[in-house]
Symmetry: C2
Subunit: 349 residues, 2 copies
C-alpha cells in the first residue's frame, strides 16, 4: 500500500484535520499522482457537512486535482513518470453501458465512481479525494494537463471548467449567439470566460452591482444587475442560451423570459428546493429548461485543450492546506474570487 | 357586410346566448366559409369566463372550424367555392418577422391575430370565432380539409390535433422511441393517436383506472395509472419524450424522472400556477422541460394531411348549438370523450 497524508472530516460537524491513510497499490492500468494543487469546490463543503445525504467518514474531499505522475502501472500507455496529470469528479465508471461507451461517463447507468465518498471497485472502501499528498487513479480517468496552463489556476477546470464547458458545447454556443450566464462565482466566472472564447456575445447576470466591473474584466460583453428591472426587461426574448450557475433559490421564470424562440436555459447549480416554473414562459416561445452535470472524460480533455489554446484558467486564491476551514467559512459567504486552490506543498510543510 | 348568427357571451358570468353580427366584406385575399362544425376547446370556456385576463365582450368563441367555401376574393388561388376548408386558432399574423417567414406564425413577434377576442387588422374590432354560421378569413390562414376525413370529427384537429402534432414532430418522435402522453382528454387522446401513427411505442399516463381500456383502444401500447407507484417506477429512465397535456396542477418531477438521458418533456397544458421543478431531476440525465404552443399554418396543413393518410380524427360527441352551456358544465368536470363538436346546422334550426 502507498502512504498518503491529507485533511479529512471525521463527522458532519468536525473541522477538516490532518489525516494519514493508504492508497491502493497500482494495478496495471493505474497511475500514481503526486498532488500539487487541489481546487475547493462548494460540493466539497456540502459533502463534508453531510448536506447531500449521509456522508461516509472519514471524508477526504477534493476533485479538482492537478499533479505530477510519479509511478505508472505496467499497462499504462498515456502517461509516463514526470507528466503533468489531472483528475476531476470521477475516477471510474462501468465502461459498459451506452453512455459510458459514448464517452458520457457522467451519466453511467450503473453509477460512476466519484473521486471521493464513493465505493472503490478495487478495494471496496470509500474513495478519498484530492486534499491529500498522492492519489492512485486508472489512466482512463486521468487527464493530461496541456503545456502552458498555470497548474494551480488550472485545477478548478476539472470541475468548474468542465461543468460549464459541457453544456455550452452541448447546446452549441458559438458566434452570432447571445448567451447569458447567471451568477458570478466559481462556475459563473468560468462560464463567462469559456462562452466568450467560444465566440458568443456574453451577458452576465449578477445580483451585485459590485461585480459589474469584474464581469466585464472576465470577458462579459454586458453585465446586467438582476435587481434592476429595466436592465432585465431590456434583455427579454434576446438570448439563445442561458447557463444558470446559481445554487441558491432564485426566480427561474425571470430568466426564462429572456430566452428567444427555441432558447434553452440550463441549470448547473443545484438549488436545494424545487423551483416554481411557469408553463406560460415555456410555451410562449417553445423554450426549454434543462440540466447538465459535469462532463465525460474525453470532453474534459477537450476542455483542457480548449482552455490551453485560449489561455483560460480560473481566477484563484491560493491557500495553504491549514487554512481550509477558514476558506470554507468564506465560501459559505461567497467571499472568494473565484476559487480557492490548496497548495499541496503546504501539507508536509 | 355579411350577416352572421352565432352564440356569444356578453359578460364573464353570462351563459352563451344567440347573437347576430356582421362579418367584414371579403378582401381580394379572403374566403368566406359557411361553418358546418366547430369543436369546443377548454380555451373557449376560459376566455368566455375571463379566466385568462379580461375578455372583450361580446365574445363568440370557437377555433376548431370546418366548413364549406361559399365565396372567394378576387386574388384567392388556393380555394374555390364548394371546397371544404378549415380555420384554427389564428386568422392572421405580421407575416414579416423571422418566425412568420419560417412558417411559425404561432410565434409571431408582433403577435398573431387570434380567431376570436383579438383585434382584427381589417376592421379594428375584436375577432369573433367559430360558434357562428359563417366566417371570413384570409386564404393564407385557411386550411384545406383533405378528402376522406369525417368533417365533424376533423374539427378538433385544428387545435387539439396541431397542438399535439407540432411538439411530437418538433422533438422528432418516431419508430424505436418510447413516448409518454400524460392525460387522456381532448389533447391527450389526439397525442396518443398521432404518436402511435408516427411509429413510437406509446405509454399513456392517466390518473383514472377507468380510462385504462380506452387508452389501449385509442392506440397506447401501455397505460400507466399514475397513482400506482409501482407502475410509475417501472417506467423510470425509459422514455425518450413525454407530452404533458394536463392543465390542472400536478407533479412534474414524477414525470421528469421517467425520461431517459437527454429526454424532453413538453408541456402543452397550462396549469394556472407555476409548478415546482427539481434541478436534480434535470441535471441527473441532462433532461429538458419544454413548452409548445399550437403550430404554424403550413404545419397545420401537414398535420391534416398526416391525419387523413393515417385515418386519424378526434373521438367526438356532436351537440346542437343550444346545448353549449350544458357542454361547458360537463367540460369542467372532464365529462366528455373526448371533444364536443357543435353541429352548426342546429344554429338556424
Amino acid at each position: 500500500m502507498i502512504k498518503s497524508i491529507g485533511y479529512a472530516a471525521t463527522s458532519s460537524t468536525a473541522p477538516l484535520a490532518p489525516f494519514s491513510f493508504e492508497r491502493r497499490e497500482l494495478t496495471a492500468a493505474d497511475v500514481q499522482i503526486e498532488i500539487l494543487y487541489c481546487g475547493v469546490c462548494h460540493s466539497d463543503l456540502h459533502q463534508v457537512r453531510s448536506e447531500w445525504g449521509a456522508t461516509p467518514y472519514p471524508c477526504v474531499p477534493g476533485h479538482e486535482i492537478v499533479g505530477r505522475v510519479v509511478k505508472v502501472g505496467s499497462a499504462v500507455s498515456k502517461f509516463k513518470v514526470g507528466d503533468m496529470a489531472a483528475v476531476g469528479c470521477m475516477v471510474d465508471s462501468c465502461r459498459q453501458c451506452s453512455p459510458c461507451k459514448e464517452g458520457e461517463e457522467q451519466f453511467c447507468e450503473k453509477g460512476m465512481t466519484w473521486t471521493y465518498c464513493s465505493p472503490d471497485k478495487h478495494t471496496g472502501a470509500f474513495t478519498l479525494g484530492g486534499y491529500s499528498s498522492t492519489i492512485v487513479v486508472d489512466e482512463a480517468f486521468t487527464l493530461k494537463v496541456p503545456a502552458g496552463l498555470d497548474l494551480a489556476a488550472a485545477a478548478p477546470l476539472l470541475c468548474a471548467g468542465i461543468t460549464t464547458y459541457s453544456p455550452l458545447k452541448h447546446w452549441k454556443v458559438g458566434p452570432g449567439q447571445r448567451v447569458g450566464v447567471v451568477g458570478l462565482g466559481g462556475l459563473g466566472h468560468m462560464a463567462v470566460k469559456i462562452a466568450r472564447a467560444m465566440g458568443a456575445h456574453v451577458v452576465l447576470f449578477t445580483t451585485s452591482e459590485s461585480k459589474r466591473e469584474d464581469g466585464l474584466r472576465l470577458g462579459a460583453h454586458e453585465v446586467v444587475v438582476s435587481k434592476n428591472k429595466d436592465e432585465m426587461k431590456a434583455q427579454r426574448n434576446s438570448l439563445n442560451f442561458i447557463l444558470d450557475t446559481v445554487s441558491a433559490a432564485h426566480d427561474l421564470n425571470a430568466y426564462l423570459s429572456l430566452l428567444k424562440l427555441d432558447g434553452t436555459m440550463t441549470l448547473v447549480g443545484l438549488p436545494p428546493q424545487p423551483a416554481p416554473v411557469s408553463a406560460f414562459q415555456l410555451t410562449a416561445k417553445r423554450r426549454q429548461l434543462a440540466g447538465s452535470s459535469i462532463g465525460g472524460i474525453a470532453e474534459t480533455q477537450e476542455m483542457l485543450d480548449f482552455c490551453a489554446k485560449h489561455g483560460i484558467v480560473s481566477d484563484i486564491e491560493l491557500i495553504p492546506m491549514q487554512q481550509i476551514n477558514e476558506a470554507y467559512e468564506r465560501l459559505v459567504k461567497g467571499d472568494v474570487k473565484y476559487r480557492f486552490v490548496i497548495d499541496m506543498a503546504t501539507l508536509s510543510a
